[in-house]
Subunit: 200 residues, 2 copies
Amino acid sequence: MEEEGATTVSSRVLAQRVGTTAAQVRKDLSLFGTFGTRGLGYEVRSLRERLREILGLAQEWPIALIGAGRIGSALFEYPNLRRRGFEIVTILDRDPRKIGRSWDGVRIRSIDEVGEVIERLRIKVALVAVPASEAQGVVDRLVGCGIRGILNLAPARLRVPDGVTVNEVDLALELEVISYALGARGTVPGEIRQDVTSDP
Amino acid sequence: MEEEGATTVSSRVLAQRVGTTAAQVRKDLSLFGTFGTRGLGYEVRSLRERLREILGLAQEWPIALIGAGRIGSALFEYPNLRRRGFEIVTILDRDPRKIGRSWDGVRIRSIDEVGEVIERLRIKVALVAVPASEAQGVVDRLVGCGIRGILNLAPARLRVPDGVTVNEVDLALELEVISYALGARGTVPGEIRQDVTSDP
DNA sequence: ATTTGTGAACATGTTCACAGCT
DNA sequence: AGCTGTGAACATGTTCACAAAT
């Protein structure tokens, strides 16, 4: 909206863009403080900036990519990560044939170097794209080296100590959700809503 | 559990495996019917079978992959989809250099053939892996041809008519969730819980 | 006139705790 | 004795509706 030249925006318009209600937007924002001006709405630039801070996105996040297979490669090339402030700064694998190669200037290192690299590059977050059977072992090493957040693409349920955040993305599971939604049950509660209800 | 030879399982054990509580498991199951035997628990094989039916997973789902780029390629090679009952049976792209090639015996076709292919192969679900700028256009065509479910990997908010299910996977967003969780706020409400609470 | 921020009302989701069955 | 299925109690999340601010 900033790029579109908008200087101010109401909860109603925000809600429309995002697929929720105006009241919801206001209540959600209110949990973090007071952002708007009554009668006017929210100042786009300052709202954006405050939200970036709340979400921890004011900084760039250096990311370790674990697994230089096909999925790892697709992730590495995925331009959206960088655009959104996440930069893959190291790639780790255990296959000797891959170690030593570079992707776009980023060297693929041995997983054994994980401790050294993570410390040197101050990495806190890792993208795990290894086979499911290796995922828990890799994650244990990562956590041991001080990684605090993990985005896991392997279809494996990971066990991590308190204080480490894991986010799982399982594409087969997402397809299963669609499968259920298409069942002979009509519209399913909990389905993604695309329609906007707004204040009366 | 079936492979492990278990013939019967309690809500408590199911809950542990899945990261929730025994009461939650029982309540959730009860919404779909009555599956267990008091005093004994659930019969593994029959529970599995009933759940497969409820989720619509008793059948194989033929899937159309839209976009033969890097992400599309990674998805196509991803063995887990097939293992979980989803088989990519056609690949559509608009790049003439890709059309006509085959991946592992599956021909890449022009997106213009979408209607014909979807009908012939009885495809109801598509995996959209095209650039964000093209996503809405592609989805409109898919919906026009009778696709009922879409798993969207492009970071674009899609508008679809009622009766079509869309599921969005946005990796940058998942990293943002981690970014927020790592903020100086301690443990965050809504975070994935790994600890199991069970009935007393 | 317009729009926020927020208690209060309402709705949905989770846990408790126990009767009822094996 | 052990475990399910489920109302009732409790907790969390959403919407309403309006006073306060510009």
